[in-house]
């Protein structure tokens, strides 16, 4: 027994010293805070793919780590702090409500670079924000939905009424109305990013109310699976969910974080990292549409055309005329939305059958 304890202690001590050596700055350490499990096959899964592409790009020169299922609460503060103290050179926090904890940690650790996804606060020079124009993909989905729906009503499973989610809903409706001006959208707010049973229940409720297309702004494959059971169509979210609905998924917005993550880690290695706020879209390859499946060829062709127009900049979803839900004019004919209004979007456009929670 004594021998075993001694052996254990000795090997622990040995590991301690090698660990300390690995902590030297020979390797760049990139760390990730996730809201859900890496196996959600949606939002977090896709960020984790981005983490893996850092490993693939830099091999031995980089070390990565992640913490999953970190609640957006006091726990997040501790987890971010823990990373900052365990030798991470750059920390990616990948959910909206990590905003304040990330900024707080950035103030305490000026030598560490912070990257906050989907937020807008940059209170210190060592914090950047980044997001993607997912709404561009939502517009294409709206068009497809209007062409595929028999009832003329789609269902939207929404998480929290933050601008990013509201923007997605509006863009979807605008896309649908470009095909069918009377198209309606029902919204269910589930107040969670990841809760498969709750998301699935929301999908069931929507289907019972007569929607025949489901789309979601939550992270699990629950809604896709319900749509598959009920034999209607659905859009995947954040990742290609075709495995979970081979006969159900029309397309999916795929979040490609890899190129951005690789470029930011590279910037840290080269010493060229600077604060920035990026909002990339389809043109940059950050928002990618999954193959158009389970639809007639002409619907797929139309979708491809819209995607090409968004990519080359000849078309932008938030272009007037657009009327707000209350009937007032938001954008006149040909007028383009200002970035500031889009980033702070807190109103619905006409055709959303829901009252925006305040």
């Amino acid at each position: 027994m004594k021998k075993t304890i001694f052996a254990l202690a000795a090997s622990a001590a040995a590991l301690m010293t090698t660990g300390a050596m690995a902590d030297g700055h020979a390797k760049t350490k990139a760390c990730f805070i996730y809201i859900g499990p890496t196996g959600d096959f949606g939002w977090t899964y896709q960020h984790d793919q981005g983490r893996k592409s850092i490993e693939a790009a830099f091999g031995d020169k980089v070390e990565t780590a992640y913490l999953e299922n970190v609640p957006e609460s006091a726990e997040a503060q501790r987890s971010i702090e823990k990373f900052a103290r365990s030798g991470c050179n750059i920390i990616f926090t990948t959910s909206f409500n990590y905003m304040d904890p990330t900024n707080k940690a950035a103030g305490k650790h000026p030598d560490v670079k912070f990257e906050h996804a989907t937020g807008y606060k940059r209170e210190h020079p060592n914090i950047s924000t980044y997001s993607s124009k997912f709404y561009q993909g939502r517009y294409i989905q709206g068009q497809i939905a209007a062409k595929m729906s028999k009832t003329g009503v789609a269902g939207y499973i929404a998480s929290f009424p933050i601008p990013e989610v509201v923007r997605g809903i509006n863009s979807f409706v605008l896309g649908a109305q470009s095909v069918n001006p009377d198209f309606k959208l029902k919204v269910v707010w589930v107040s969670t990013w990841f809760d498969p049973p709750k998301e699935a229940d929301a999908a069931k409720a929507l289907i019972d109310q007569g929607v025949d297309i489901i789309t979601q702004h939550t992270d699990s494959t629950g809604p896709m699976q319900v749509a598959a059971e009920r034999g209607i169509k659905a859009f995947g979210q954040a990742s290609d969910m075709i495995k979970f609905g081979p006969k159900t998924q029309l397309t999916s917005i795929i979040d490609e974080w890899g190129p951005y993550y690789v470029s930011r880690v590279k910037a840290v290695m080269d010493g060229t990292w600077k604060q920035q706020d990026v909002w990339h879209g389809m043109a940059d390859g950050n928002v990618v549409m999954a193959p158009y499946t389970n639809m007639p060829d002409e619907v797929a062709e139309a979708a491809k055309k819209t995607a090409a127009a968004i990519k080359d900049g000849s078309f932008e979803p938030f272009t007037g005329p657009i009327t707000k839900q209350d009937g007032s004019v938001w954008l006149k004919e040909g007028e383009k939305a200002e970035v500031g209004t889009l980033l702070g979007m807190n109103f619905y456009v006409k055709g959303v059958d829901d009252k925006l929670p305040q």
């Binding site: 760390c31 780590a65 299922n69 823990k82 929290f160 107040s191």
Partner: protein
């Protein structure tokens, strides 16, 4: 050959002291096997889990922060359990305590005064005690099973607090995220030293441990708790009322759980949100037993359990094991603690053959 459990005449005093340590050792060994099965180096895994967090002062602080609610709740539970009252609902009492205390800064957000904090703490304790009073009175009056009622009230509390922070108490500027407004400074429990994350709640836990230890070992009340817990009949002959004691211990443990709740809300989270409870009320049951239902033992046991939380995070970072590993450790620990208690009352004998008739 077979293994036989033989009842000891009295309890073994050696194993009464030793059994938590044996349980810890078995937990660590089982954990090592688990890591090996996951393809991780078990020695390195156990090192990151149980030693690394102790090496760094910041981590040690985090352990104290985590241990605070666990210890406060477990002390109250120990009193309940010693008296034969099985309060499984500390989780709910913790939540309602936090909610009662938070009511002041939530409803009077602008009110800044040195009175705010003491009032919040009192409200927290009152909330927890009131919520514990429900299963207590049901047991004393109608003889209901307190294990069931206290447990089921946990779910009621969870839903109620969840509704509050998503509905009437939600911060109108919070983008719809569940949670109240941030408290103002006079509603925040101060740190023990400036810049530290350890708040005054840690001091409450130590004071409570010493006070309850004193009550249990040096006062008539403590004697009453022990007598009624071990032999209700003997207690009745001594003139103690089991019903009155049930009410007393539930109120006490509810108040301590409520104090834990409001300390966490006011000292760590600084607002009321839907993630106040990370299962502390249930984890505290493990702490109470690991500490052998002794308040001073519970102080140590609370630190051990806090270590499994913080170590779980460290292991996730260095080894990439799931955050569920921490829960597995906690489960293993409770299992081994309860199993090892067998050794106090029984001795294990290896019997080579069936005993001959009449030989025993």
């Amino acid at each position: 050959m077979r293994i036989e459990l033989q009842k000891r005449a009295g309890g073994s005093s050696v194993f009464a002291v030793l059994s938590p340590f044996v349980a810890l050792l078995l937990t660590v060994l089982a954990g090592g096997i688990m890591f090996a099965l996951l393809g991780k180096n078990p020695v390195f895994a156990l090192y990151t889990y149980f030693v690394e967090p102790l090496a760094d002062p910041w981590s040690r602080e985090q352990i104290l922060v985590k241990a605070t609610p666990l210890v406060l709740i477990a002390i109250g539970l120990a009193v309940c359990f010693r008296s034969g009252n099985w309060n499984i609902g500390a989780e709910g009492q913790y939540l309602i305590g936090g909610m009662f205390g938070a009511a002041i800064p939530v409803l009077f957000n602008e009110w800044q005064s040195p009175l705010v904090l003491p009032l919040m703490l009192l409200m927290g304790m009152a909330g927890g005690a009131l919520y514990a009073f429900i299963p207590a009175i049901l047991k004393a009056r109608f003889g209901t099973n307190e294990i069931l009622t206290s447990l089921m009230l946990v779910y009621v509390a969870q839903q109620f607090v969840d509704w509050l922070v998503r509905g009437p108490w939600r911060d109108p500027k919070g983008f719809g995220f569940p949670g109240s407004k941030q408290f103002n400074e006079s509603a925040v429990l101060p740190s023990l030293s400036s810049g530290s994350d350890v708040h005054l709640g840690a001091l409450f836990a130590v004071v409570a441990a010493i006070a309850i230890w004193f009550v249990l070992t040096r006062t008539l009340k403590g004697f009453e708790i022990a007598v009624l817990g071990q032999s209700p009949r003997a207690g009745r002959f001594a003139g103690f009322s089991a019903k009155r004691l049930t009410i007393f211990v539930f109120l006490l443990s509810g108040a301590l759980a409520g104090l834990a709740g409001i300390s966490e809300v006011s000292g760590s989270v600084e607002k009321l949100d839907d993630k106040l409870s990370l299962g502390y009320g249930f984890a505290a049951i493990i702490v109470a037993f690991l500490g052998r239902l002794n308040p001073l033992g519970i102080l140590a046991a609370g630190l051990v359990l806090a270590l499994t939380y913080i170590g779980g995070e460290a292991a996730q970072i260095s080894l990439g094991v799931s955050d569920r590993a921490a829960r597995v450790f906690q489960g293993l620990l409770l299992f081994f603690v309860l199993a090892c208690d067998t050794l106090i009352h029984y001795r294990i004998r290896l019997v080579s053959r069936l005993p001959k008739a009449g030989a025993a």
